[in-house]
Every structure is written in structure tokens, then in C-alpha cells.
């Protein structure tokens, strides 16, 4: 079985592309997922991930009736992710206590608009399935280049802004007193979260986006109390889970996105007792 997987990996371009796309997505999700977990905006990410369906639906609908190539599902996803991200960010800054309801409203309206428009656009049901569950095995060269560009933006931004992101994630008032542009940094971080969500939707699908964005970072947070170490550990864990997920999906012929999400969730639940074991070990 093992041999046949590695043989398939060396000969099957679909499998190679799927694995490569999964590893690239792990880099972005490991970095941004760590900030998401530290800033406790996991549910904001979940809301954006699902609301993006609205943008995809509008794009598909407009493409069908105008034949304009600009209206691709990816274009709709990016525009709607930023649109909804900025609404949530604005509400968070302006009316902190009401953000939960807005998250729920955006989650619902995006999904509702998306489902209605996709259902009235002929021939777009496949797009709905791709959006919901990802299409890793059909990753094209164009998508890989896009993943590379988006990852580069995330990597460069986090190298230069890591200390500032850490500051606004922990204590916005102190960051403000220390003359940091807190609102700008918050919206920029939110934009990077939106970009990462769009990347992950291509790989794992909207339903399972949260598992790949947040769980590797949450596992890393159990074992370290340094954000930089947490980022490196989250990237490593995410890469490992992508590889194991790809292998198991090949082995059992399971959907690849769901397999990665299942593995990630299992690791998360195993990491909790493992940490307890590690803490109690030196005492014995």
C-alpha cells in the first residue's frame, strides 16, 4: 500500500499538485491561524469563510449572464471576504458588544445569497460542491501560483509586523499609548485572515476551513507560550496533517479535504491528554 502511494505520488501529477497545494496552504494557515487563535477571532474567521459563498454566487450569476471573465468564483470569494471582513472589523471597533450578532447575521446572509444565486444559475452546482468541500485534487498550476503569491504576502507582512500584531492581539490600549496605528493594524490583520480563508477554501472547502486555520495553531498553543514558536509549530503540524490526510485519502479513497480536517481534529483531541501527561511526567 505504502509503495503504491509513493509510486502514485511520483507519477500522478494530480496527487503531486494536491500535496504541494496542501503544503503551501499550511504555511499561510500556520502563520495567520496563530494570530487568529491568539486574538480569539476564530468565529469571525468562520463567519467570513461561510459568507464568502455569497460572493461566489454573485460572481457565478454575473458571469453566466454577462460572460465577463472577471467574474470568476475566486474573484467573488476575494471581494466578499474583504467586504464582510471589513464590516465585522468596523462593528468590532465601534460596538464591541454587538459583534456576536453581526457574525451570525453575516454568516447567514452570505450563505443564503450564495445558495439562492447558485441554484438559479444553470450549471454551477459543481462550483457549490467545490466551495463547500474544496477541490485539492484539481489544483491547477494557476492556483498554485496564486497560493505562492498569497503566501508571500502573508510571510513578508508577518516578518515585518509580527511584534506589532502581537501587541494588538494582547493589549490594544497599550499599543495605542505606544503610538501604534491600532485600527490600521487590526484591519490589515483581518485582511490577511480573509486572504488565508480564500486560500484554504480552494484546498479544504468552506465547511472545514476552521479546522485547518485554527486547530494546528490551537494544538501549538497547548505546547508553547511563545507566539513565534507557536507559529513554527503550527506550520509544521499543518504540513504533517496535510501529508497524512493526503496519504489516508489515497489509501481509503476518501475526500481529501474532509480527511485532512478529520486528522487535524483527532490530533487536537489527542493533544489535550498528551499535554497533561507531559506536565505530570517530571513529577513522577
Amino acid at each position: 500500500m505504502n509503495d503504491s502511494f509513493f509510486y502514485a505520488l511520483s507519477t500522478n501529477p494530480f496527487l503531486q499538485m494536491a500535496l504541494f497545494a496542501g503544503l503551501l496552504a499550511s504555511l499561510g494557515s500556520g502563520i495567520i491561524g496563530s494570530y487568529t487563535v491568539a486574538k480569539r477571532v476564530v468565529f469571525i474567521s468562520g463567519s467570513i469563510a461561510h459568507a464568502v459563498l455569497g460572493g461566489i454566487g454573485i460572481s457565478l450569476y454575473l458571469h453566466y449572464y454577462t460572460l465577463n471573465p472577471l467574474f470568476s468564483p475566486l474573484f467573488g470569494a476575494i471581494v466578499s471576504a474583504f467586504f464582510f471582513g471589513f464590516i465585522i472589523g468596523w462593528v468590532h471597533l465601534k460596538y464591541k458588544q454587538r459583534v456576536d450578532s453581526v457574525i451570525a447575521a453575516i454568516w447567514s446572509i452570505g450563505m443564503a445569497v450564495g445558495v439562492i444565486l447558485i441554484s438559479i444559475t444553470p450549471g454551477s452546482n459543481a462550483e457549490l460542491m467545490n466551495f463547500l468541500f474544496g477541490n485539492l485534487l484539481w489544483a491547477s498550476h494557476r492556483e498554485l501560483y496564486l497560493l505562492l503569491i498569497l503566501n508571500s504576502i502573508i510571510l513578508i507582512s508577518s516578518i515585518f509586523l509580527h511584534k506589532r500584531f502581537l501587541a494588538i492581539c494582547f493589549d490594544e490600549i497599550n499599543a495605542y499609548i505606544q503610538k501604534q496605528p491600532v485600527t490600521l493594524l487590526y484591519f490589515f490583520l483581518l485582511s490577511l485572515i480573509c486572504l488565508t480563508i480564500v486560500i484554504l477554501i480552494q484546498v479544504i472547502g468552506a465547511i472545514l476551513v476552521i479546522s485547518m486555520l485554527c486547530l494546528p495553531a490551537a494544538i501549538a498553543n497547548i505546547f508553547t507560550r511563545s507566539l513565534s514558536k507557536m507559529i513554527f509549530l503550527a506550520i509544521a503540524l499543518s504540513c504533517m496533517m496535510s501529508m497524512i490526510g493526503t496519504y489516508l485519502s489515497y489509501l481509503f479513497n476518501w475526500p481529501i479535504g474532509a480527511t485532512i480536517a478529520l486528522i487535524t481534529t483527532c490530533f487536537y483531541f489527542l493533544s489535550l491528554p498528551l499535554k497533561k501527561l507531559l506536565v505530570s511526567f517530571p513529577e513522577k
Binding site: 496563530s34 491568539a38 480569539r40 516578518i159 515585518f160 509586523l161 509580527h162 511584534k163 506589532r164 502581537l166 501587541a167 492581539c169 494582547f170 493589549d171 490600549i173 497599550n174 499599543a175 495605542y176 499609548i177 505606544q178 503610538k179 501604534q180 498553543n221 508553547t224 507560550r225 511563545s226 507566539l227 514558536k229 507557536m230
Partner: protein
């Protein structure tokens, strides 16, 4: 000759339609020790948030060293009443204290060696150097309060603002913080906000009652307030509200 470091004239602030501060006027001198006393909800924290530029007043004039709070905000060291954070937050004590130097962080986001040196020194001064790698969520209440003060002092600010610094602390931690404020009095401009009558008041150059407006309290007025039980007294063994 002493100069005004904080000058406020006719400052008003409201949350929604409720006036929290109205027509507040006061001037604070350099190296003075001022206490804002008053009941909970009286507007003490709102007033300092206006002074630091976190809140924008509805009307009035406010200058810090002759400039707007937005320009001079990094001249403050702020010790908040409560620091709410996730105990699992991935931040060490060293990183936490270093965040008091964020205004010195270069654009490329790597700390200068001088910043790390300053952080080491302040940790040593507060006897926290042995805990510098500890996660911030693992510190005791007293250690955390010391760390918050260290973060506020690390940039050597001109004005120190203590917002209810003894709130929730045990006797020994309170004693440490009080002696620290004692030590800083006369060297820095200090603004202390409290609803607890403590012996720190004896050190204060000015005591103001903040309750929508601001009025200076003289010794007799202070005694009167204590007699009436308007505030809690530490010496009387009363607890916080």
C-alpha cells in the same frame, strides 16, 4: 519653577446621552502627585482616558506638555485597573514588559539591543528577572501587577497613571505597590485614581473629587467624606466595592 504638564479647560464627555464629565478644568504641575478620588462610575477612568487620548471629549481644551494627547500619548505610563487577557496567551513576561517600548520599535519590526537591555534592567529592578521566560498567564496577582508597572516604567515616561492599582491585591502585594508609588513620588508626575482612602493620600500634592465634575478636596473636606463613609478606608479595614 514648576510648569503645567497637563492643562484641562471646560472638558465634557458623554457616553450615548449620559453626561459623564462636564466642564472639568484643572492643571497638573511637573513631578506633582495628584489623586483622583470618587465613587465608582464617577468618571475617574473616563477622565484619564481623555487625558491619554483614548477617548475624545465632546468639548473642551486639553493639552499635555502643550500638545494634543494624540501627539504626546507615549509620554504616559499607564497601569490599568484590570488587565483582561486569555491565560493561555502565548506571551512571556519579558515580551510583555518589552511592549512598553513599542514606540521605539523600528519600522522593520526587530527590537534594538538597547530595548532588550532596558527590559532586562527593569525586570532586575522589580526582582522579576528569574521569571522572564514565564508565560504571562502563569504569574500570581502580585507578580502580574509588578509586571504591569514595570511595563509602564520601562520607557521612562514623564507621567504615570495608576488606575486603582491596589484593586484585587492581597495585603503584602498592596504594600509593595504602595512603597513603589512612595518611591516614585516627587520624581515623576503621578496621577492616582482610587476609591479607597489610603495613606498614599498623605503624600499627594492635590486630591480631587471626581463625580461628573472635578473639585479639589482639602484636608477637612477629605475627613468629612471619610466620616460620611462616601469612600472606603483601608485603615478601617474596609474592602473594595
Amino acid at each position: 519653577m514648576s510648569k503645567h504638564v497637563i492643562k484641562i479647560e471646560n472638558l465634557s464627555f458623554r457616553y450615548d446621552k449620559t453626561d459623564v464629565l462636564s466642564n472639568v478644568s484643572l492643571s497638573l504641575d511637573e513631578h506633582s502627585f495628584t489623586v483622583f478620588l470618587g465613587p465608582n462610575g464617577g468618571g475617574k477612568t473616563t477622565l484619564i482616558k481623555c487625558i491619554m487620548g483614548i477617548l475624545v471629549p465632546r468639548k473642551g481644551f486639553l493639552k499635555i506638555f502643550g500638545q494634543t494627547p494624540k501627539i504626546s500619548k507615549n509620554r504616559f505610563g499607564y497601569i490599568p485597573q484590570r488587565l483582561e487577557f486569555d491565560p493561555m496567551f502565548p506571551l512571556s513576561l519579558f515580551e510583555f514588559v518589552q511592549q512598553g517600548l513599542l514606540s521605539e520599535l523600528p519600522w522593520y519590526g526587530v527590537w534594538k539591543s538597547s530595548s532588550s537591555k532596558k527590559t532586562e534592567e527593569i525586570l532586575k529592578k522589580f526582582n522579576l528577572e528569574g521569571l522572564k521566560s514565564q508565560p504571562i498567564g502563569g504569574l500570581s496577582g502580585g507578580q502580574l501587577q509588578k509586571a504591569i508597572i514595570a511595563r509602564a516604567l520601562v520607557s521612562n515616561p514623564d507621567i504615570l497613571i495608576f488606575d486603582e492599582p491596589l484593586s484585587g491585591l492581597d495585603f503584602s502585594s498592596s504594600k509593595t505597590i504602595i512603597s513603589l508609588i512612595d518611591e516614585l513620588a516627587g520624581k515623576k508626575t503621578i496621577l492616582l485614581i482610587t476609591h479607597v482612602i489610603s495613606h498614599l493620600l498623605k503624600k499627594a500634592d492635590h486630591v480631587y473629587l471626581v463625580e461628573k465634575g472635578v473639585c479639589p478636596l482639602k484636608d477637612e473636606a477629605l475627613c468629612k467624606h471619610m466620616e460620611l463613609g462616601l469612600f472606603h478606608s483601608e485603615e478601617e479595614g474596609c474592602s473594595h466595592e
